[in-house]
């Protein structure tokens, strides 16, 4: 079976598992909302201040949400040892990782879709004029976040304290995503909005480097 087809089937499986209960999505969305509200207490949430602090706040909330929502993609498989079954399937091991990366990517994009309008309303920032470019920034950033996050979830799936360990491993590695995502978003929220190509390139570079690294080294993590 080709890798693309195998990965598609696996994404469908991940989505089906999630949408039976929607536990992960519901919890993550509520978590991010709560973080957004809590952040508002740490500065004066006027429109001008929000434009200054908003982008960083948004990306930090996403980073934390990502670090907390990704472990289930492997721990869910442990209950019935289904990862072993997946490994037995005659497919490229990269397809398994890719399926999980894409599923996590979709979950986080859905979270962002719920989050952004609420952020715009709560902090009086208008996102509509720059929506297309904003989407590009979030897609690139989220891809990098979920690629490294999924690999690190596999890394920590058999470790003790894994819920604490994953953010600890993931967040420093995501420094470039945080900086580039924040700066790009800040550029788009500025008046007049502009999107520095530098930050987009950095996000693209991050995605390419870590997708390649996952492709080369990821399969070692699926061994039992």
């Amino acid at each position: 079976m080709g890798m693309a087809r195998a990965a598609t089937i696996l994404v469908a499986k991940e989505l089906r598992t999630e949408f039976r209960t929607r536990e992960l999505l519901n919890t993550t969305i509520v978590f991010v909302l709560m973080v957004l509200v809590l952040f508002s207490f740490t500065f004066d949430p006027t429109a001008a201040e929000s434009r200054r602090f908003g982008p960083g706040l948004l990306w930090l909330a996403l980073l934390f949400a990502g670090a907390l929502m990704m472990p289930p993609s492997f721990t869910r498989e442990q209950a019935n040892e289904t990862l072993a079954a997946l490994r037995l399937a005659p497919i490229d091991p990269m397809a398994i990782l890719l399926g999980k990366v894409l599923a996590n990517f979709l979950f986080l994009m859905l979270t962002e879709a719920a989050l952004l309008p609420i952020f715009a309303v709560l902090y009086d920032v208008s996102l509509a004029p720059v929506l297309g470019r904003l989407l590009l920034v979030f897609v690139l950033g989220t891809l990098g976040l979920t690629t490294t996050g999924t690999v690190f979830s596999a890394l920590t799936s058999q470790a003790r304290m894994r819920e604490l360990l994953l953010p600890l491993l993931l967040l420093p590695v995501l420094t470039p995503v945080l900086i580039a995502g924040t700066e790009a978003t800040a550029g788009l929220l500025a008046d007049p909005p502009n999107l520095p190509r530098l930050w987009l390139l950095l996000l693209v570079a991050f995605d390419i480097v870590f997708l390649t690294a996952t492709w080369v080294f990821g399969e070692y993590l699926l061994e039992e």
């Binding site: 490294t148 690999v151 690190f152 890394l155 920590t156 058999q158 470790a159 003790r160 304290m161 894994r162 360990l165 600890l168 491993l169 420093p172 590695v173 420094t175 470039p176 900086i179 580039a180 700066e183 530098l198 930050w199 950095l202 570079a205 991050f206 480097v209 870590f210 690294a213 080294f217 990821g218 070692y220 993590l221 061994e223």
Partner: protein, 231 residues
């Protein structure tokens, strides 16, 4: 079996002598810097420490890749040993930096590219060591830490670039730019050689310790197995 921890005196004495000479050269032979004065002499310890730390982290990266390819435990031992030793030098960089910065810049710390990325580097390798303490199975631990080590190392240039674009204030490197007095070079290189000597010495000791640990672990497993058979 048969790996044992030998302290070889000759290299240790040689490194100690080298270190003494390097300290003397840095403090007394090197010319005093014009604007910063005596405090600049910390540079002979600060920059070579950074270079030595990078060499150690490069060894971690090579060992990680070699482990994934060969699956020989010795590469895992080398990886963890180099990470610990590199972290020690990286800590020295982070401590000597502010000591120099306070009198020269007037502040202990600034969020500049070189400083901040060194700090992120330090955090990355602390996480590497922490990860190792939380996975019990030796083979699994070796695999996951190798993959994390590779990801961390690949991340370093991206971290550096992103912070560099974000802001920079560190004095631009004087090395290679021709900004450094020619008489500063010999003490500088001597200091680097001495610190590299310390690094290799520590690395060898730490590697021997890791090999012994491995042996003890094997013995424990063996004993458990025998107990299980006996009962």
């Amino acid at each position: 079996m048969g790996e044992e921890m030998r302290v070889s005196w000759l290299p240790a004495v040689a490194v100690a002598v080298l270190l003494g000479l390097a300290g003397y050269a840095a403090l007394f032979l090197a010319p005093t810097e014009q604007t910063m004065g005596l405090i600049q002499r910390i540079f002979y310890f600060h920059v070579p420490s950074a270079w030595t730390a990078f060499v150690a982290f490069l060894i971690v990266f090579v060992a990680n890749i070699a482990y994934l390819i060969s699956r020989a435990p010795k590469w895992d031992w080398l990886g963890v040993s180099a990470a610990e030793v590199g972290l020690a030098f990286c800590s020295a960089v982070l401590v000597t930096g502010p000591i120099w910065a306070k009198p020269v810049w007037g502040i202990w710390w600034t969020w500049d590219a070189r400083l901040t990325s060194t700090f992120v580097l330090w955090v990355l390798y602390v996480s590497y060591l922490l990860l190792r303490t939380l996975v019990s199975d030796a083979e699994r631990r070796a695999i996951v830490s190798a993959v994390f080590g590779i990801f961390a190392f690949l991340d370093v240039p991206l971290v550096y670039l992103s912070i560099w674009f974000w802001r920079t204030q560190h004095p631009q490197p004087v090395i290679g730019g021709g900004g450094m007095d020619r008489r500063m070079w010999p003490p500088f290189l001597l200091c680097w050689a001495a610190l590299m000597g310390v690094m290799v010495l520590l690395l060898r000791l730490r590697y021997g310790l890791e090999a012994l640990r491995h042996e003890v672990e094997e013995m424990k497993i063996d004993r458990e197995r025998r107990k299980a058979i006996a009962s």
